[in-house]
């Protein structure tokens, strides 16, 4: 029987090994530039690295024709007036990627974020439950098929934006759970980091702002509760500051690119990217299977959320004790359970009304094209699933965990291998030794 310290070492080693295996998997399986977003972000990274936040018509035309030669397109670049073309998407992830681009290792960007996301999830689950749950949760998080697939697509913003959001949200929840034990300084640092990362998640993907809003509501609630109980609330401005910095930077960027801080890229796009309740039924029809494939723990997490929040709400209103009931997430205070539910609901509620995925043309498309939008909910889903799995019979928990990991690897591999690869001679294959500016045998616009 191993003692406590060797047991801790074992769980941490398993987690580290799992993360390394996931990294190897995404590095060894050939890379793809499969959608417009990959190509647009790739060109945007190059343009931003040259200090061009916008491009003129001639240059963008040359870039577009160059992308076409390798099977890509720049659908996320739009005309914003005055012979200028700009990226429709939020720029946060590109700015993050620039240092890695300069050192000619853009693939490191998502690996660093993945490591950070796993560390936060590990910390959080260790605090909520124990080291074993933290190990299982971290592995399940990183081996989610959608997470692996988007991690591999280094220029697309989905994984990056999700990682920022997850780290920020995770740190905030970690703070809430440990608030009484932390010094004022540590609390301020933690809250500032949480706020900054959360906001950077929204600055990397505009739609993540809805999740940030859920956290802002929770923060406001905590602040008011503190005031009413006459408890110290002096650390909360650190989070507000953390939230404000990225948003101010975004406003500055929007002012420079679109001519006004309040104008943003989505106002110019021509793609079917609206949201409406009318699309709900079609989304349920087209996306459900893709979601089950992309998020193997969706059913477990859904059950856990429903049973947990239902039990806690009942307890809150009629004072019933929920301790000992496996479905009621006893580790989570009601407000945190609601926060996690709100986080998942903000993502699912938004994208189940998404115009693009409700389109008949996408109904048979690979799961990654439909399910990737839901990636920002991966952390709350994993937390809910793991907290339930730690309470079911051991055999079942082991079987579900093993199945989910195998599932993750297989579906990721299937997703990665079933698309045409970037031609090996393409300068946009990030594993070619040359970055675009020095690509051999390719006429490049400079």
């Amino acid at each position: 029987m191993p003692n406590e310290s060797s047991r801790l070492l074992l769980y941490r080693s398993i987690t580290a090994l799992g993360v390394v295996l996931a990294f190897l998997l995404i590095l060894l399986i050939p890379q793809h530039m499969r959608e417009g977003s990959d190509w647009s972000f790739q060109y945007a990274t190059r343009n931003f690295s040259l200090g061009h936040l916008t491009e003129d018509g001639v240059n963008i035309g040359l870039e577009e024709s160059e992308a076409h030669r390798f099977g890509g397109d720049l659908s996320q670049y739009v005309f914003v007036g005055d012979n200028r073309w700009a990226l429709t998407e939020a720029p946060g992830y590109i700015f993050y990627l620039l240092p890695f681009y300069y050192i000619r290792a853009p693939e490191l960007g998502s690996l660093v974020l993945a490591a950070g996301m796993v560390m936060v999830a590990y910390l959080l689950l260790k605090r909520l439950r124990d080291e074993k749950a933290a190990c299982v949760g971290s592995l399940l998080l990183i081996f989610t098929p959608v997470a692996l697939a988007m991690m591999q697509r280094i220029y697309a913003d989905s994984f990056g934006a999700t990682a920022f959001l997850s780290m920020g949200g995770g740190l905030y929840i970690y703070y809430c759970l440990r608030a009484r034990e932390l010094s004022k300084r540590a609390s301020a640092i933690l809250l500032f980091s949480a706020g900054f990362l959360l906001a950077w998640g929204a600055v990397s993907n505009y739609n993540n702002a809805l999740v940030v809003l859920v956290f802002a509501v929770h923060l406001a609630f905590q602040f008011l509760r503190g005031l009413m109980k006459k408890a110290p609330v002096g650390v909360y401005p650190a989070m507000i500051l953390g939230l404000a910095v990225p948003f101010v930077l975004l406003l500055v960027y929007q002012n420079a690119v679109f001519g006004s801080p309040w104008k943003f890229g989505f106002q110019y796009h021509q793609l079917p990217l609206g949201f409406s309740i009318h699309y709900f039924t079609n989304n349920i029809k087209f996306v459900s299977t893709a979601l089950l494939v992309g998020f193997p723990l969706l059913l477990v997490a859904g059950y856990s959320f429903c049973a947990g929040v239902n039990g806690k709400t009942k307890t809150f209103f009629d004072g019933r004790q929920d301790a000992g009931n496996p479905e009621m997430l006893p580790e989570l205070p009601l407000d945190i359970a609601l926060l996690l539910t709100g986080w998942a609901a903000a993502v699912f509620g938004l994208y189940l009304n998404f115009e693009f995925t409700a389109n008949y043309q996408v109904s048979g498309m690979p799961f990654i094209i439909l399910a990737r939008y839901y990636l920002p909910a991966v952390l709350p889903l994993t937390l809910a699933a793991v907290l339930l799995l730690t309470r079911v019979p051991r055999k079942l928990a082991v079987a579900v965990t093993a199945l989910s990991i195998i599932w993750g690897v297989l579906f990721f591999a299937q997703s990665a291998l079933s698309f045409p690869l970037v031609p090996p001679h393409s300068p946009y294959n990030p594993f070619s030794s040359q970055l675009p500016a020095e690509g051999p045998g390719v006429v490049l616009y400079e």
Binding site: L292, M365, P366, V392, P393, L396, L403, Q414, L417
Partner: protein
């Protein structure tokens, strides 16, 4: 149960019956090519032609009665379709009534049973009224119902009739045999077995006499089928195909869409071996689970019954997993027995079974040609469905027999008491 409770339950069951009537007639789409085929069989029987001799049939003789019954109500195809739907509805309601009775005997909540039965029926969808597979399913439940009431002869008789409708209920025969043997020794098994064999003989004999070749062909035609597109083996090959490790191409076969792949022939040939091994495992585990239970102990009979229900469900699931053919209507075999499954994993089993049913609906009829075209989401849905089915089989077989615990616990207690 007092009189008031009986009245209350009668109202509840009636409400569920009305709900099923509504769903069968207003929600489900009836008819389709299979019902048309059943109609053609019925027409031929009506013309005085003898099945297996004058026309080919790919089903056991009991199925012919199922096909002919709606023809008595209407001779037109449209009317036949409606009558067939009502035939299925009647069996569905008979199943519901038996389910309530069986659940009560096995100390399973009647509410749970009714809700589970209805949920499964909705999740499976219109195929409930487009195929006749509900009848063998309800026959299976009927045999279990009679068995749970101690009416073993009737149970064997119903099982035999069910087996002659579609062979699936026959999978339960070894379970019945083990159960009775553990309860009353070998002698108690003989009357049941004799009835089972007798009923089968009575049904089969006239057809064998009139057209033995056609009768035998009705069984061998199934055995000669290639690897069907939706089978577990095919989904593994499709997954390997999507990873570029083998080729896997759906092709139109004589009876169904099948899979052409280098390994397909071999898998189809040896699948019968996997079916046999899988079923042997189920029967072996059932025997082991009953071994730990004391025959006359109070409460033991409920546990034995619970085990019988669980392993009956497991036997059908294992057959589906290991068989080289997996048509969407196979899910219908499971739904009458599914609410009787109990144990630690019951919530998980419910969620998995309902998900499997929904995915089956998604694959057929909603996206079947996407699957034939090997479009990724449909292929993934199939892989997902079959993985969940395999997982379901593992959960069912991994369930610890309650009897093992109840026997061991007193020994542990007495040992620790002695130590003190």
């Amino acid at each position: 149960m007092n009189r008031m409770t009986k009245v209350q339950w009668a109202v509840v069951v009636l409400a569920f019956c009305l709900l099923h009537l509504l769903i069968f007639t207003r929600v489900f789409y009836s008819g389709g090519p299979d019902v048309q085929g059943y109609y053609q069989y019925a027409e031929k029987i009506n013309q005085g032609l003898v099945a297996y001799r004058d026309f080919k049939v790919e089903y056991p003789p009991g199925a012919l009665a199922v096909f002919y019954l709606p023809y008595l109500a209407s001779g037109s195809l449209e009317g036949y379709g409606t009558a067939f739907t009502f035939e299925m509805l009647i069996f569905d309601i008979i199943g519901m009534l038996m389910l309530v009775g069986t659940a009560r005997r096995a100390r399973i909540s009647e509410w749970f049973a009714l809700i589970g039965y209805t949920l499964a029926m909705v999740a499976i969808g219109s195929i409930m009224v487009q195929r006749f597979d509900m009848i063998p399913g309800v026959m299976t439940l009927g045999a279990l119902f009679a068995f749970s009431r101690g009416n073993y002869k009737m149970a064997w008789c119903v099982l035999a009739i069910g087996t002659m409708t579609k062979l699936i209920p026959g999978l339960l025969a070894p379970l019945f045999l083990i159960y009775q043997w553990k309860q009353g020794g070998w002698r108690s098994v003989i009357p049941g077995l004799a009835i089972f064999a007798g009923v089968i003989l009575v049904i089969v004999l006239p057809f064998v006499v009139h057209g033995s070749q056609g009768f035998i062909a009705s069984f061998t035609v199934q055995g000669r089928r290639p690897l069907q597109l939706e089978s577990t083996y095919a989904s593994v090959l499709l997954l390997l195909g999507s990873l570029g490790l083998t080729s896997a191409v759906p092709v139109q076969g004589l009876i169904s869409f099948d899979l052409a792949s280098p390994a397909a022939g071999l898998l189809a040939k040896y699948s019968i071996l996997f079916v046999g091994l899988g079923l042997l495992l189920v029967y072996g585990l059932f025997y082991r689970s009953l071994r730990g239970m004391k025959r006359d102990e109070a409460g033991s009979s409920h546990e034995m019954l619970a085990q019988l229900f669980n392993y009956s469900f497991a036997a059908i699931v294992v057959f589906m997993v290991t068989n080289k053919v997996f048509s969407p209507q196979y899910l219908v075999w499971l739904y009458p027995v599914f609410p009787l499954v109990s144990g630690r994993f019951r919530p998980a089993i419910w969620v998995i079974y309902i998900t499997i049913s929904c995915l089956t609906w998604y694959i057929y009829p909603l996206h079947y040609y996407d699957l034939v075209d090997t479009r990724q989401v449909s292929v993934d849905a199939l892989i997902l469905r079959n993985t969940l089915l395999v997982f379901l089989a593992f959960l069912l077989l991994g369930e610890q027999a309650p009897g093992t615990k109840t026997v061991k616990e007193p020994a542990v207690i007495s040992a620790s008491a002695q130590a003190e």
